[in-house]
């Protein structure tokens, strides 16, 4: 969910959409960039959607490319994790609760939506606390919450597990496929096939992490990053700052989203997450296995860990043929560079996950395409 600051009554959001300000910023970006080739990557799905909706790609200087990174939690969820969720959904007596976007993601041979239509009990919830409520109401059923998400989502999942522990629930568990952003940035910065000159860093994730975890981008890779908000003026300001640092050759990590993000983030939320979760190696769709990039439930809370609670047979993983979601997530190609884009793969009939989630790069490119 978005930062609560968005609905704060004392901020005039009209100013962040002021057409004159926007045009002024676009002009400044044009003057800084000139005809240089510069690749910037936004690593948050909400940025991808906003950039699409504001139509910014079509009005940037020719050499300035805005690439979309692995910022959609549904998209980076490994095929095998989806298959595991599907196998769980088929278990007798199990109710699956999950976020809406997970429903349509194709696994190897099925999807949660198809399983729901086939009669299995799968429910969309807005918060893991809703899943707790279901667990209390249906004490004879097993409730499994399928958890995906980055640093923003994890504290709420942790809170639900602590709450379940407090209430001594015995029929609630979580399948955790939660991931952390910095290891993915490292994988992309380190990828010889992708050249990123600067990162538009995630606004929501950074409200939790602060800006420290991004320092390695400058220290080890000399790549600048700017934590950026989501309004038109926010995004253009982030792009302008990045372009300037790239052109001047002075990489830094900056925070342009001061109204939402403090330098050291939200310590309370991080502690909540740490209390319940510990880092582990995790497989990302497209990026493969990244060390210490995932989160697993600590042994102390093993009774709430679905992967320890249920021993289900998972079907063999089949990756969709021709799908280049992996290359899209790494910024190697734009969604339009995939041969399936808009033909075999559309939001109505998605082949890969990036076309499913509303925050997936391919879905955003399709939805906000130019003619």
């Amino acid at each position: 969910m978005s930062a609560p600051a968005k609905t704060a009554p004392n901020i005039d959001f009209g100013a962040f959409r002021d057409p004159a300000l926007v045009r002024g910023l676009i002009g400044r970006i044009e003057r800084i960039v000139g005809d240089r080739p510069i690749n910037l990557m936004e690593v948050c799905g909400t940025h991808t959607v906003s950039i699409g909706r504001y139509g910014f790609r079509s009005i940037m200087p020719t050499g300035l490319r805005l690439l979309s990174g692995p910022g959609c939690p549904v998209c980076v969820t490994a095929n095998r994790d989806i298959d595991y969720a599907i196998a769980l959904a088929r278990q007798e007596g199990v109710i699956i609760a999950t976020f809406g976007d997970m429903m349509r993601v194709p696994g190897s041979t099925s999807s949660l939506r198809a399983e729901k239509a086939a009669g299995h009990d799968i429910r969309i919830v807005y918060s893991p606390l809703d899943a707790l409520r279901i667990a209390e109401e249906q004490s004879e059923r097993e409730i499994v919450f399928l958890s995906v998400g980055f640093e923003t989502t994890t504290p709420a999942i942790a809170a639900s597990i602590l709450e379940a522990s407090e209430r001594e629930l015995t029929n609630f568990s979580v399948f955790a496929a939660n991931k952390m952003t910095p290891p993915a940035l490292r994988a992309i910065a380190d990828d010889p096939e992708t050249r990123i000159d600067g990162f538009i860093l995630p606004g929501h994730v950074s409200t939790i992490t602060g800006i420290e975890p991004y320092r390695f981008l400058v220290d080890e890779f000399s790549i600048p990053g700017v934590v950026t908000g989501f309004e038109p003026v926010d995004i253009l300001e982030g792009i302008e700052m990045l372009a300037r640092m790239v052109v001047e050759g002075k990489p830094r990590i900056e925070n342009a989203y001061l109204r939402g993000v403090s330098a050291d983030g939200n310590r309370v939320a991080r502690e909540l997450a740490t209390q319940v979760f510990e880092p582990c190696d995790a497989t990302w769709r497209g990026l493969g296995k990244l060390p210490q990039s995932g989160l697993r439930i600590r042994q102390e809370f093993a009774r709430f860990d679905a992967s320890q609670r249920f021993d289900v047979a998972i079907e063999p993983t089949v990756e969709p043929r021709g799908c280049r979601c992996g290359d899209v997530l790494r910024g190697r190609i734009a969604p339009t560079g995939c041969p399936l884009f808009g033909t075999a793969c559309t939001p109505e009939h998605p082949v890969g996950p990036c076309m499913v989630s509303s925050e997936g790069s391919c879905a955003a490119y399709f939805r906000y395409r130019e003619e």
């Binding site: 609905t7 079509s58 976007d101 109505e348």
Partner: protein
């Protein structure tokens, strides 16, 4: 239809529903009146000129929400669909499917609301039907209504009549109904209470027809929102439609809620809004007529119909305040909240 079972997305008002209708219902029921693709079927009735007939079923949960209940929707939805044909809406039928155990007090409130709304719209409910199903066989109460009215001689409204240069009018702010339901359903609070806009719009349509005698068509942007309505018009008339994002009225609370949930407000449902396509020289008069109506105070001209470049398919474009444009598609699948 690639899917072998009915999915929730088949009822969303977007592309999946369109395919279901095109490939199943139209295939088997394809009367000329149905194939015209408008919200009400218009047909000759010997001796009485032409009638417009429309029907709609209401299954909304919760049945009570800020700004109304399922009964108000059941009357407004059908009245508005019949009225879009330019007909004088006269009579409604209503069918109730009730779940065993449904509180009688709630049913009374719904029926009272239907009577009040029908009186407001100037229509009479003249027949009905009641069925009760076992507990679990329905979700509380479902209502079907059908409406009929007579189409005055010479009135030929259709989504296929949009011409390049025509103005696109919208009778008020988008998204109130969809977000009111969503916030009620999920217990989300957005500071300001968002109230459903459900309203009978037959008087607004009549006023526009009088002010703009060459109006091309009306449609109420319900499920699928403005995006579906404009795409339907563009496809039926084989034109492009361009709207200015800044000209589209949206209440701040709805805009905020949409951003939080990851919805595009142009795809969110409305129950008390009307889109009208009007020749350019009658646009101002039509706008004035809308604004003079109690349900049209926030009406605006939001765009225009444009020529289709040769070789291109029908399209709806949105132009931002800084000159970029994007394609506006119909909703795909059901509307789902995003997760981060």
């Amino acid at each position: 239809m690639a899917s072998e079972t009915v999915l929730l997305g088949h009822g969303s008002g977007g592309q999946m529903m369109k395919r279901l209708i095109d490939e199943l219902f139209l295939e088997h029921f394809g009367s000329p009146e149905l194939l015209a693709g408008n919200d009400a079927g218009v047909a000759a009735l010997p001796g009485t000129g032409r009638i417009a007939l429309s029907t709609d079923s209401f299954v909304v949960t919760p049945q009570f929400f800020p700004g109304g209940n399922i009964g108000r929707l059941a009357v407004c939805g059908t009245v508005n669909d019949v009225a879009t044909s330019g007909a004088h809406v006269r009579y409604l039928s209503c069918g109730f499917i009730l779940e065993e155990g449904y509180p009688m007090d709630d049913l009374r409130r719904i029926v009272k609301t239907m009577a009040d709304t029908a009186a407001e719209a100037g229509v009479r409910i003249i027949t009905g039907d009641t069925k009760v199903v076992e507990r679990g066989g329905a979700d509380g109460v479902y209502i079907n209504t059908a409406g009929v009215g007579e189409v005055p001689a010479g009135v030929e409204l259709s989504g296929a009549r949009c011409r390049p240069g025509d103005a696109v009018l919208l009778s008020g702010a988008l998204g109130d109904h969809g977000i009111a339901i969503m916030s009620q359903r999920e217990g989300l609070a957005f500071g300001t209470e968002i109230v459903s806009d459900a309203a009978p719009l037959n008087s607004l349509i009549a006023a526009v027809m009088e002010a703009a005698p060459h109006v091309r068509c009306f449609r109420d942007p319900t499920r699928g929102g403005l995006a579906s309505t404009l795409n339907e018009f563009a496809a039926a008339s084989k034109v492009a439609i361009e709207v200015e994002e800044d000209a589209i009225p949206v209440h701040d609370a709805v805009r905020g809620a949409c951003e939080m949930l990851g919805y595009d407000v142009l795809q969110v449902a409305n129950e008390g809004k009307m889109v009208a396509i009007v020749p350019e020289d009658e646009a101002q008069a039509a706008l004035d007529a809308m604004r003079a109506n109690r349900y049209g105070a926030e009406a605006a001209i939001i765009g225009h119909v444009a020529e289709l470049p040769s070789g291109r398919g029908p399209v709806v474009r949105v132009r931002t305040g800084w000159g970029s444009t994007r394609v506006l598609d119909m909703l795909v699948g059901e509307q789902l909240p995003r997760i981060c």
